[in-house]
């Protein structure tokens, strides 16, 4: 019964005398969570990066074999804890897929509002923390100032600021309180002029471009081979967004909405027009710097910035549709709802990539197997490829551009 497990503290590969093995983490201001990176460097040049995971593993999937689907919703919050709403959505959709449960219209629009607001909140953290990795502290706080306002809105909606458990199988735990829609509109009106501020501080900043352009270049083939998804994939030029290309049960949520997939057009070399006229005339969108190569850190960062704009568009449309929709917010399913025998798998476009949930049931109310496919796990696996031959100071830049959250990787 004994299995031989290698002692993770022993590094076995041989080190040449002119190389250094440097350990970054697990407690480290720069890695996004408890991540241990072992770097093999020759002076300043990194030759290999090996990520060691598992410091945040909480057996969520095993626990899912003991709880009903509605009871398991809080565990999804704690996976990608910076985008809890989107995790809730993924789980809710897969349970509804297994149950073949349909939602009223209002619930659908409510989900769009909430998940896109969650996307904005998540990208704000990604952008701010990326600046922090590179040494600029102020954009981090500006991003969090805006995120605080979104979290206040979420707190009014469901009572929690980080671990929401709001979108449950069947709909949501409750409707948006009266006045929420207007407050949301006020927030968006105030948020839009802040975006050029971020461009000035980060995207357009010469030092930032010097730190991110041309660094960590990943080709489309590599991205696909490693299973990277989300902005990481689209930053390499692959036009794949599950809100367009995904399963019907997911894409029908976005039916009737106008928005773009943020990816660079291979012919023109430009990103989709962010529809400046809706934002006012005095907003200037940054040009792509000449040092930036498709697939580098700058492009991944830029894709996230533009996705925020698309998310704002979606929220504005969704608010209007929500107000004029019929039906209720989607009553959650019964706590002890019996699941039909079978399995279901659904991937959604979470802010950090494609988050998939897999549910196998044997006819009981408690599932037989629950599995979460983490987007950041595959995104992180490409680190060694990207960091090879770069300088030591580029490693936080590359890992930051992948925007990983350890909660999702370790589950």
């Amino acid at each position: 019964m004994s299995t031989k497990v290698d002692d993770p503290r022993v590094i076995e590969f041989d080190v040449r005398t002119d190389e250094m093995l440097i350990n970054m983490g697990p407690q480290h201001p720069s890695t996004h969570g408890v991540l241990r990176l072992i770097l093999r460097t020759d002076g300043e040049i990194v030759s290999e990066v090996e990520p060691h995971l598992g410091y945040l593993h909480r057996c969520a999937e095993k626990i899912g074999e003991n709880l009903t689907p509605r009871q398991w919703v809080p565990y999804t919050d704690r996976m990608d804890y910076l985008a809890g709403m989107n995790m809730n959505l993924g789980w809710a959709l897969v349970v509804e897929k297994l149950l073949e449960h349909d939602l009223p219209e209002k619930a659908r629009h409510l989900r769009v509002i909430i998940s896109e607001m969650g996307r904005i909140a998540s990208h704000l953290v990604g952008m701010g923390a990326y600046g922090l990795d590179l040494g600029t502290f102020s954009p981090f706080l500006y991003a969090f100032r805006e995120r605080e306002k979104i979290l206040d809105l979420f707190e009014k909606a469901c009572g929690a600021r980080l671990t929401y458990s709001y979108l449950t199988p069947g709909g949501a735990t409750g409707d948006l309180p009266p006045g929420w829609v207007d407050e949301c509109r006020d927030f968006l009106a105030q948020f839009k002029p802040c975006i050029p501020e971020f461009h000035e501080l980060l995207t357009n900043n010469q030092i930032f471009i010097g730190r991110t352009a041309g660094i960590g270049v990943m080709s489309a083939a590599t991205a696909i081979n490693y299973g990277c998804t989300g902005p990481v994939l689209r930053g390499s030029g692959v036009p794949y967004d599950l809100r367009f290309n995904g399963e019907e049960r997911y894409t029908e949520m976005y039916e009737g909405y106008q928005f773009d997939v943020i990816v660079q057009d291979p012919e023109t070399g430009k990103y989709p027009d962010p529809h400046l006229e809706e934002f006012g005339d005095d907003l200037d969108y940054p040009e792509i710097p000449k040092e930036a190569i498709l697939g580098d850190c700058w492009h991944r960062f830029y894709v996230r910035m533009l996705e925020v704009v698309q998310a704002i568009r979606l929220v504005e449309q969704a608010l209007d549709k929500y107000e004029s929709a019929s039906g209720d917010w989607g009553q959650p399913i019964k706590l002890t709802q019996k699941l039909p025998k079978g399995e279901a798998y659904l991937e959604t476009e979470a802010p950090r990539g494609q988050m998939g949930f897999y549910l196998v049931s044997t006819g009981d109310s408690i599932p037989w197997r629950v599995r979460a496919r983490s987007s950041c796990f595959c995104n992180l696996s490409v680190t060694s490829e990207l960091c090879r031959g770069t300088l030591l100071a580029d490693v936080p830049a590359i890992v930051g551009s992948l925007d990983v959250v350890m909660g999702e990787i370790d589950r």
């Binding site: 590969f13 093999r40 020759d42 030759s47 290999e48 090996e50 041309g214 270049v217 990943m218 080709s219 083939a221 590599t222 081979n225 490693y226 040092e291 190569i293 697939g295 580098d296 696996s381 060694s384 490829e385 090879r388 031959g389």
Partner: protein, 256 residues
């Protein structure tokens, strides 16, 4: 008041001379005696810094500042750099062989005897009161500017304008030629050092970050095909293992 008059014997000039000279000598001896190479370099810093102190005490502020900037701030930084980077486990301790000690004592000792003999032979240094008188008469302000020095280096000796020699009285002699020769020499050394320390590039190696990035993409695409292929072949080994072996191979390639 009585106490102050009674202890009116401390001469600060002598006190500081003793202090600086003592520190120089003591730390120079410590350089000899210590076995830790980094500490050796550090004691040298203190010793040379003290020498700069001696210059300041003599009123030669420019020379003292030069000592600090060139010796301590330049040469010793280089020395400490070299020592610090190579002082890993095996090389920290320096054990001097006894025969080296004997040889060094002979050479150093004979130099010391020579110097002491030469110093003892200077008549004007034998009389202590003469030095006190010279100290009192020293016109301190004059000695401190660097402009006469600079002018001398560029061809005019302004401190000798009232001498008997007609050439010196006209301000004709200076050190311009040696100065120019040394400057050209330093330029040659700089160029030589830059040339020798350049990154060696082979004829086919790519230049520039964009090119390197593109080649990296091509290399990665080539490799990931192998990875995918080998992963599907192997049943037990993980993707990470093959990644590792791939990484090691390519690291070896990159090192060549």
């Amino acid at each position: 008041m009585g106490i102050l008059a009674a202890v009116n014997r401390v001469y600060w000039h002598e006190f500081f001379f003793m202090l600086f000279a003592g520190i120089s000598v003591v730390f120079a001896v410590c350089v000899l005696l210590t076995q830790n190479i980094v500490r050796m370099a550090f004691y040298l810093v203190l010793s040379l810094g003290s020498t700069a102190g001696l210059f300041f005490l003599a009123g030669a502020e420019f020379v003292g500042a030069m000592q600090l900037m060139i010796y301590v701030g330049g040469t010793l930084v280089l020395l400490i750099f070299g020592v610090m980077l190579t002082a890993q486990q095996r090389y920290v301790k320096m054990n001097t062989h006894p025969t080296d000690w004997v040889l060094a004592t002979i050479v150093g000792g004979s130099l010391l005897v020579l110097l002491i003999g030469a110093a003892a032979g200077v008549d004007s240094w034998k009389d202590a009161s003469a030095s006190k008188k010279a100290l009192a008469e020293l016109d301190v302000d004059d000695a401190r500017t660097a402009t006469p020095l600079g002018l001398a280096l560029t061809g005019v000796r302004v401190d000798k304008l009232d001498s008997d020699d007609p050439a010196l009285a006209n301000g004709q002699s200076g050190y311009l030629l040696p100065f120019i020769i040394v400057s050209v020499h330093l330029l040659v050394v700089l160029i030589g050092a830059a040339y020798m320390a350049r990154t060696k590039r082979s004829a086919t190696a790519p230049v520039g970050r964009a090119e390197r990035a593109r080649l990296n993409i091509m290399q990665m695409e080539h490799e990931t095909d192998d990875v995918v292929y080998s992963a599907s072949k192997q049943s037990s080994s993980s993707l990470l293992d093959s990644d590792q072996s791939q990484a090691e191979e390519s690291t070896d390639e990159a090192q060549e």
